[in-house]
């Protein structure tokens, strides 16, 4: 079946041959968009988090067949520059495999709550596993990004 998608501001067409094909599989294996990572395919790790019509979802748990005409934003299109910069500057990126999903989740959080507290950050990112950092510098990065964004015209 043919599915039309808007991905990071561009139109894309996916010809899928399995009705259960996940959005993650379509992005990575069919369209070659490997920014979203595959680490568990069970919705446990959050590495594949994307915004689907503005809502954060695990792309591995969404069927592409459900996405006709919908807007998908990955790490490429969902993340304001200051969020990326904060991750880089604060040392929140080590191996980086969890980073694309985390960045999308942080972008979503800061869109809803421009100045989140530590508990709010922890709650918002509880679905994103990171094995390298112990999360400490990720929390730093969210605060830094929030401060930078607060100083920019919104």
């Amino acid at each position: 079946m043919r599915v039309n998608l808007h991905i990071d501001g561009a139109e894309a067409v996916a010809e899928i041959d399995r009705p259960g094909e996940s959005l993650l599989s379509t992005l990575r294996d069919r369209l070659g968009l490997t920014g979203s990572k595959n680490a568990c395919e069970q919705g446990e790790c959050g590495s594949c988090t994307v915004l689907l019509d503005g809502a954060p979802v695990c792309a591995c748990l969404v069927a592409t067949a459900q996405c006709e005409g919908r807007e998908v934003k990955t790490v490429v299109g969902a993340v304001p520059r200051p969020v990326r910069d904060a991750f880089v500057q604060c040392g929140a990126v080590q191996c980086g495999f969890c980073t694309p999903g985390l960045l999308v989740a942080v972008a979503d959080l800061l869109d809803r709550e421009p100045d989140p507290s530590d508990p709010e950050i922890r709650e918002a990112l509880a679905g994103n596993l990171c094995r390298c950092t112990g999360y400490e510098k990720i929390i730093d990065a969210v605060h830094t990004a929030a401060a930078t964004l607060a100083g920019e015209p919104r």
């Binding site: 990171c130 112990g134 999360y135 990065a141």
Partner: protein, 794 residues
């Protein structure tokens, strides 16, 4: 298709200079930490900086000091690619006309293979190859230390998940379906799953005793004897095992994510029946390692399929297969007996340590050496009897994981120190202080503690690196219980399980002692090539240093450090990292906390050589090049009967204090604070260093309270992130760090390896804190809720 010249992307990038002020300050004010601690946590303890010998001039041939040198925290060269989705991990690679490989694995922990029928799989349209042991082109076995692991099981399987057949097909989905169509006729055998029984029956990879003095006649005022258990932990790197084998004229190019390219090459080539020169290994982006990428996974299989089909073949494990497809941390059973005098000074230690190595050797031999030589930790004791085994069973193979044999015994000996302190009414820090090794003292192997400047001690006393770390907690108070906490801050969190009535607070300490670099006489070295030339217009005509090594960037920040070293030694701004591959000499493994020491040392030496040549030459006359091989000081094997021998290169210490809240009615634990004091010798990149300590601490927390691969008669029961829990951001407390720089005069820049020690010490600290909160003895990790509720004293 990835561009081989740029994948995965360690290229020259503008250096942003030191990272801007960290936001810890704001975060920690909300955590209620006093100002002095925030300062300590966000910067190295520069009061403690000691001069280092042989640290080299800071100004190179340009006579300038560029930004982003050793001691600063420039941004990582690969970080932009990692935040915009462009960084190519092994699982992101794709090539034209590429096939997908898949592995058929044994469902049985132990069985004979009567026959394998591949006809139905081969008949499936789109299937290009189905291979079994009969198709292995060269040697049938491989292994890191001993080649005992079959490439594909020939006639018998020895653990659940052992590879039996491999398939290549047009899509991953087809390859999986084809693997399902391979019929294997097994004769199922009873698996041997008890490591103690295996060791007693002589089924072990190594037995290593340590003997000093006479523990049986040494008199002690107080004796504590306990048994401890450590569950099987998994490295669980987020990036799955993956790679692509590409046939080229005369051989193969293998794109792999590994910790040690040259060890892979040495194991792969004989099994493929190819001369090593016909294989080129190119490093693909690595999504974490922690030991899981020391042993081979997809490498030989994808190469066999590519050789058979003549097409590129990609393999990528899903999470369930990943849990079966790499080795784990050895589970351990340990019986310890500590005797001390009335002042708490150790008189003797007896320890019986059984590590379960599973079905194949992997690195068990070296893990046993670490467990035995570090079996009592950083404490003085004259009478010791240690017996350590690495058993062979039909459980999943175990090998390298961060901490490597030091983690298991650390949990036991630190628990014993607390038990002695309890018996004597001593403070846990005080008993450790009284027994702490000092400069000139000996480990139980007879190795003298050196590599600390002798003039650092208070008057008349030899310097004790452990006492130094313990004393620093004096200035770091335990966080108070906040008034009026929201119930989501209590154990159980948003589960709304308590209003605090059953919640008890506890505090505990843990000390970890880890050997850095490879021990026991191993010829451990790294190689670096440096070429300095005048840059083109893109570099403003300024000198550019090109660095070529085979060292694996697993996330620790090693690429960044190489650039920092080159800037420091050569005084140049522009440092380009060439892709890591087997054209460079071996760098050894990104393991044993050794890469800063070893490849850092090699890059430093090569840069120094270039700098010397540069004195007499003009770059306009042509590039200046040097290759240097760096070796640490020689070590010796442990004596097979007494365990004696100067077996270690460098020792590193870390101390944790954990504060926990425990709901004693429900058995729920919330770690509310982890404070860490670690001696790193020299902080080469403070931000990356802090990240290593944070991450190592988190993996120790995981082992303390949640992480375990559960097996039942050799079968893994929880091969998924749904059932194998790793710490989330809600599980991790704020971490306060005090970084101490007691330089090692023998090491480059005075550094001490830093990645592993925190993984040792955080586990016993957390368990000690849970004991403090509950009064329970707790002799097993991970601590589960039922350990805290069943049999709880009322």
């Amino acid at each position: 298709m990835p561009d081989p010249a740029t994948t995965p992307g360690p290229q020259d990038r503008p250096v942003a200079g030191p990272a801007p002020g960290r936001s810890d300050t704001a975060a920690r004010i909300r955590d209620g930490a006093p100002q002095s601690e925030k300062d300590a946590s966000s910067a190295p303890d520069h009061d403690a900086v000691r001069p280092t010998r042989g640290s080299g001039r800071l100004i190179g041939g340009t006579g300038r000091v560029p930004s982003g040198t050793v001691g600063q925290s420039p941004i990582r060269p690969e970080s932009e690619a990692k935040v915009n989705g462009a960084f190519d991990y092994a699982s992101d690679l794709a090539f034209p006309d590429m096939l997908w490989g898949n592995t058929l694995r044994s469902p049985h922990p132990r069985a004979l293979i009567r026959s394998i029928d591949t006809a139905a799989a081969l008949a499936l349209p789109g299937v290009a190859a189905v291979l079994t042991a009969a198709d292995v082109p060269g040697k049938l076995h491989y292994g890191l230390i001993e080649a005992d692991q079959p490439v594909l099981a020939p006639d018998q399987v020895n653990y659940q998940g052992e590879p039996v057949a491999i398939v290549a097909a047009e899509t991953l989905d087809l390859a999986r379906r084809a693997a399902d169509l391979v019929t294997v006729d097994y004769e199922v055998l009873e698996p041997r799953c008890d490591a103690d029984e295996a060791a007693a029956a002589g089924e072990y990879f190594r037995y290593q005793p340590v003997r000093i003095g006479d523990p049986d006649t040494a008199g002690a005022a107080v004796v504590v004897a306990r048994e401890y258990e450590v569950g099987m932990q998994d490295q669980a790197p987020l990036g799955p095992e993956s790679g692509v084998a590409v046939p080229v004229e005369g051989g193969l190019v293998l794109h792999v994510a590994t910790q040690w390219l040259h060890s892979d090459l040495d194991q792969i080539a004989p099994c493929l029946g190819l001369e090593p020169e016909r294989l080129h290994l190119s490093m693909a982006g690595i999504g974490g390692a922690f030991g899981a990428r020391e042993d081979l996974s997809v490498q030989i299989h994808m190469a066999m399929l590519a050789m058979r089909t003549g097409r590129p073949v990609k393999m990528m494990y899903d999470r369930a297969e990943s849990f079966l497809g790499h080795v784990h941390r050895h589970p351990a059973r340990m019986r310890y007996e500590h005797g001390a005098d009335a002042d708490g000074r150790l008189v003797y230690v007896k320890a019986r340590i059984v590590l379960d190595g599973g079905a194949y050797a992997s690195t068990t031999e070296a893990v046993v050496g670490n467990a035995a030589s570090l079996a009592v930790g950083p404490y003085n004791v004259e009478h010791v009897s240690v017996d350590a085994w690495g058993a062979r069973t039909n459980n999943p193979p175990c090998g390298a994981m961060r901490g490597f044999g030091g983690v298991q015994t650390c949990f036991a000996y630190e628990s014993q120190m607390d038990a002695l302190a309890d018996a004597l009414g001593l403070d846990p820090r005080e008993i450790r202080r009284r027994n702490a090794l000092a400069r000139g003292d000996k480990l139980i192997t007879g190795q003298v503690v050196d590599a600390y400047d002798p003039d650092e001690a208070p008057a008349g006393q030899p310097f004790s690196p452990l006492r130094d770390l313990l004393d620093r907690f004096d200035g770091i108070p335990v966080p108070p219980v906040p008034a009026g906490r929201d119930i989501v801050e209590l154990p159980g969190g948003t589960g709304n399980t308590t209003h605090g009535e059953g919640v008890r607070r506890g505090v505990g300490y843990g000390v970890g002692l880890k050997n850095i670099c490879y021990s026991e006489g191993f010829d451990d070295y790294s190689t670096a090539h440096v070429r300095l030339e005048l840059g083109g217009p893109e570099h403003g005509g300024e000198p550019v240093a090109y660095l070529h090594t085979a060292a694996a960037e697993v996330g620790q920040g090693h690429w960044n450090l190489q650039q920092q070293i080159a800037r420091t030694e050569l005084g140049v701004e522009h440092v380009v990292l060439l892709p890591n591959d087997t054209r460079a000499g071996s760098a050894g493994s990104s393991s044993a906390s050794r890469q800063s020491y070893m490849t850092g040392g090699a890059v430093k030496a090569a840069c120094e050589a270039v700098r010397e040549l540069w004195r007499d030459r003009d770059l306009a006359d042509g590039p200046i090049e040097a290759t240097r091989v760096f070796r640490h000081r020689a070590t010796k094997p442990m004596d097979p009967v007494t365990g004696q021998g100067e077996s270690h290169v460098q020792l590193a210490l870390c101390v944790h204090r954990a504060t926990v809240d425990v709901d004693v009615e429900l058995g729920l634990v919330k770690v509310v604070d982890l404070t860490c004091v670690q001696d790193v010798g020299k902080a080469l990149n403070p931000v990356a260093l802090e990240g290593q300590i944070h991450g190592g601490t988190a993996q120790g927390l995981g082992l303390a309270v949640m992480e375990e691969i559960v097996t039942d008669a050799g079968r893994v029961r929880n091969a998924s992130f749904t059932d194998y829990l790793i710490p989330t951001i809600l599980d991790m407390p704020p971490m306060r760090l005090r970084i101490v720089e007691n330089a090692d005069p023998d090491a480059p820049y005075g550094l001490r390896g830093a990645g592993e020690p925190p993984t040792l010490s955080s586990t016993p600290a957390i368990v000690a804190a849970i004991r403090d909160a509950t009064g329970l003895p707790l002799a097993r990790v991970p601590v589960r809720p039922e350990h805290l509720t069943v049999g709880r004293p009322s």
